[in-house]
């Protein structure tokens, strides 16, 4: 980071002072693991008093969702200010006050496609960590071919009657609400008959079941809708769908792009993370020439990818949109993370094979990186058609 221009220098000083005063010491440990995350929601049990205070103070100042407009619970920061905010957070090792699918996914969708009343109704509770959302996209028969979703919503006048099954709904068993892609017109072409609908998980007929994964965790669920009645409206100018009825695919596509950027930026810490070579040299096996060569290659590629994330961010803030090229970040970033986890396991040898060591679950979890949010193969197809212009 270099010299900020006048206004930004003032802003940085303000943020620094605010953090200094408001971030509890216990929230300055830089923890990023699953156990340290504050997800929020009606059933949320804060893991400490500091976590609760930190969320409350951030939400009051708009810093749980710093770039959202002030009227919807944010702080209205522009990109330059946002960068400074995160730099200052990182400087004191502050934990994020709140993470959720509401912040990552639904919020951006509502900000882009929602009505003013919808935003006022749904966004502030997300910013305050009061409502926890989950995503209802994939189905047993609709994975990479997401637009073939079959969970149906029949028009019953003042409500939709929803029947079907969603899968890979992350943390659905802990969520309060779900945003789901539902088939609202069975006769239209598959992309033109889908709506993006907001559903209360307490609705009668909605149920979830966690799915045990190879990593031993069960963050994903199956979610069932059995004659669930979903009101068409939650109040004046607050429709239960986002965007127009039967145009939910536009919202989904927008969010998928957003999700790709998020996955490549968060799950993959290349460049900003610890040096893989240093991690493995601590385990003492870098004298194996083949392992060492593999680690050197990975180190080079991770550093270059970290610079690429930075370049794409700088391009975006310079007004040069990156659009479908974000599929490249998702493809490269997740493949690199899988390689990183393989090398960490190889470097640790038998030490990492016991469950209580903790490295194996991360390694196993990383295998999903190149599947969730669109597989690597789907990313390559997007790049070849939309960026390279190859015939479909």
């Amino acid at each position: 980071m270099g010299q900020d221009s006048g206004d930004l220098a003032l802003f940085r000083a303000d943020i620094r002072a605010w953090l200094d005063e408001n971030c509890p010491q216990d929230m300055r440990d830089g923890a990023v693991g699953e156990d340290s995350i504050c997800w929020g929601g009606k059933n949320w049990n804060f893991t400490s008093e500091a976590q609760e205070i930190w969320l409350h103070r951030c939400a009051t100042a708009g810093y749980s969702v710093p770039t959202w407009p002030v009227e919807y619970g944010g702080a209205g920061l522009n990109r330059d200010q946002e960068k400074i905010f995160h730099e200052e957070m990182a400087r004191i090792n502050a934990r994020l006050p709140l993470q959720s699918f509401g912040i990552w996914m639904l919020g951006p969708a509502l900000l882009q496609f929602g009505t003013h009343a919808q935003k006022l109704h749904f966004l502030p509770p997300i910013a305050r960590g009061e409502i926890r959302w989950c995503q209802g996209y994939s189905e047993p028969g609709a994975g990479s071919d997401l637009a073939s979703v079959q969970t149906k919503a029949e028009d019953k006048g003042d409500h939709w009657l929803v029947n079907g099954q969603k899968i890979w709904t992350s943390y659905a068993n802990k969520a309060d609400w779900i945003f789901a892609l539902l088939r609202t017109d069975r006769d239209a072409p598959k992309h033109k008959g889908i709506s993006f609908v907001l559903i209360d998980m307490r609705s009668e007929g909605a149920s979830t079941r966690p799915i045990g994964l190879i990593s031993g965790a069960s963050p994903f669920c199956e979610t069932f809708f059995d004659n669930v009645k979903v009101p068409k409206s939650y109040g004046e100018d607050i429709p239960s769908q986002v965007g127009e009825i039967n145009r939910g695919w536009d919202v989904a596509k927008y969010l998928l792009t957003h999700e790709r950027e998020m996955i490549s930026g968060s799950a993959m810490l290349a460049g900003s993370g610890r040096s893989l070579g240093v991690i493995l040299s601590e385990s003492g096996h870098l004298d194996d020439p083949i392992l060492r060569a593999d680690v050197m290659r990975a180190e080079i590629d991770e550093l270059a990818f970290g610079l690429t994330l930075e370049r794409y961010k700088d391009q975006a803030s310079a007004g040069q949109g990156t659009g479908d090229a974000s599929a490249m970040l998702k493809y490269v970033g997740t493949e690199l993370n899988k390689r990183r986890q393989e090398l960490i396991m190889a470097g640790a040898g038998a030490d990492a094979l016991a469950w209580d060591d903790g490295r194996a679950p991360d390694w196993l979890r990383s295998k999903a990186n190149s599947i969730e949010g669109g597989t690597s193969e789907v990313m390559l197809s997007i790049l070849s058609r939309r960026v390279l212009g190859l015939p479909g």
């Binding site: 070579g277 050197m296 290659r297 180190e299 270059a304």
Partner: protein
């Protein structure tokens, strides 16, 4: 930190360079030069000097354009795209950067001669088949007030035609860098026919006389002057390789769209689409490393070594992938001399070796990252 985005000026420079090179020095120019048995086009270098390219790193006080390393990388990248052969790297980047480390009248005169296009340089450092300047064995023995150089340098790029040589020699307590006119008695140059149709020479030194005036920097301390020059050269070569990869990829992508088999464009086959998209992704990641190397050399040169080696390693790898995929996706025609892809492949191989191969730079990265 300046942002990792090309500035308006850099975009304009790239456009102007591409316009000029497409006209004056496309791949066909290199082909014609090769067919005529030549490795250097003095007329082309004169034009580049007139545009300020020869003086891209020469201070304005010495008649240069002083545009900085990122700008030099932009020019190198465009020359890579069109496979333009010129003394740009050896003279305008490496020699100019070495001479900039010295603030005396001699260096100023040399820089002015570079900017004017009159003087060309070649870097005579390596003696074996791999880049290893620290292993130089060529001796510079004390002789009165001066030195006598004896030994051999290999893979001296542009060494067949350059009128000055930067020679790395072993002295009593270390390595010393000399700037010697190439026509001095005792120097024998053997130009070699290289796969990339460019100049490289094997040069023997048989008791070549050098005075204290020929020493660049301090005796026994070559690296103070040479290291920044090598970094600049490695970064510009990486930029050239990145441009080369983009050029080869552009040809391949166009071919995927126009070549039909089984009644459809071959670019509609998913097997080829995914390979093309992977290659494009690889080019994008490498482009970030190139941009970063230029920014570091301009903004924080003392700490640029990691960025430079990262760029050279990535660009080497990406260029190799681009030319190999280029030939494979073109099929039989990619193997013909009549088609340009072979020129890209051969230059990529030379660029991979010059100034340090992948392993050399990966080693630098590992050391600087602390493992």
């Amino acid at each position: 930190m300046t942002k990792l985005v090309r500035t308006e000026e850099e975009i304009m420079l790239a456009d102007a360079a591409r316009g000029f090179l497409d006209e004056a020095a496309p791949v066909a120019h290199l082909r014609a030069q090769r067919d005529a048995g030549q490795t250097h086009d003095p007329e082309l270098w004169k034009q580049m000097a007139e545009m300020g390219w020869a003086g891209v790193l020469v201070p304005e006080a010495a008649g240069g354009a002083d545009m900085g390393f990122a700008a030099a990388n932009v020019l190198a990248e465009e020359m890579g795209r069109s496979l333009t052969a010129s003394p740009f790297l050896s003279t305008a980047v490496i020699a100019a950067t070495a001479l900039r480390q010295i603030s005396d009248e001699r260096a100023r005169t040399a820089l002015a001669a570079i900017a004017g296009g009159a003087r060309t340089y070649a870097l005579a450092i390596d003696e074996g088949s791999k880049h290893a300047p620290e292993a130089s064995a060529l001796r510079a023995e004390r002789d009165g007030n001066g030195f006598r150089l004896s030994g051999e340098k290999r893979f001296v790029v542009d060494g067949g035609f350059a009128n000055h040589l930067l020679v790395l020699a072993r002295t009593d307590a270390g390595l010393t860098l000399f700037d010697i006119p190439a026509d001095r008695a005792g120097i024998a140059r053997t130009a070699q026919a290289m796969i990339d149709s460019r100049d490289a020479a094997r040069i023997t030194f048989d008791g070549v006389e050098a005075t204290g005036d020929n020493v660049l920097g301090q005796v026994d301390d070559a690296m103070t002057v040479l290291a920044p020059a090598l970094h600049a050269g490695q970064a510009a070569l990486a930029a050239e390789m990145s441009g080369l990869a983009a050029g080869a990829f552009g040809m391949t992508l166009a071919y995927l769209k126009e070549r039909t088999q089984f009644g459809v464009p071959i670019g509609s086959f998913q097997a080829l689409q995914h390979r093309a998209a992977h290659l494009w992704s690889d080019c994008e990641v490498t482009a970030s490393a190139i941009l970063n190397a230029g920014r570091m050399l301009d903004g924080d040169p003392d700490n640029a070594a990691l960025a430079v080696s990262l760029a050279k390693a990535r660009a080497t790898q990406t260029a190799q992938l681009a030319v190999q995929e280029g030939v494979q996706m073109h099929g039989g025609i990619g193997m013909t001399d009549e088609f340009d892809m072979g020129f890209y492949m051969k230059r990529a191989r030379v660029g991979a070796e010059w100034l340090g191969d992948y392993g050399y730079h990966a080693g630098v990265v590992a050391r600087l990252r602390g493992f």
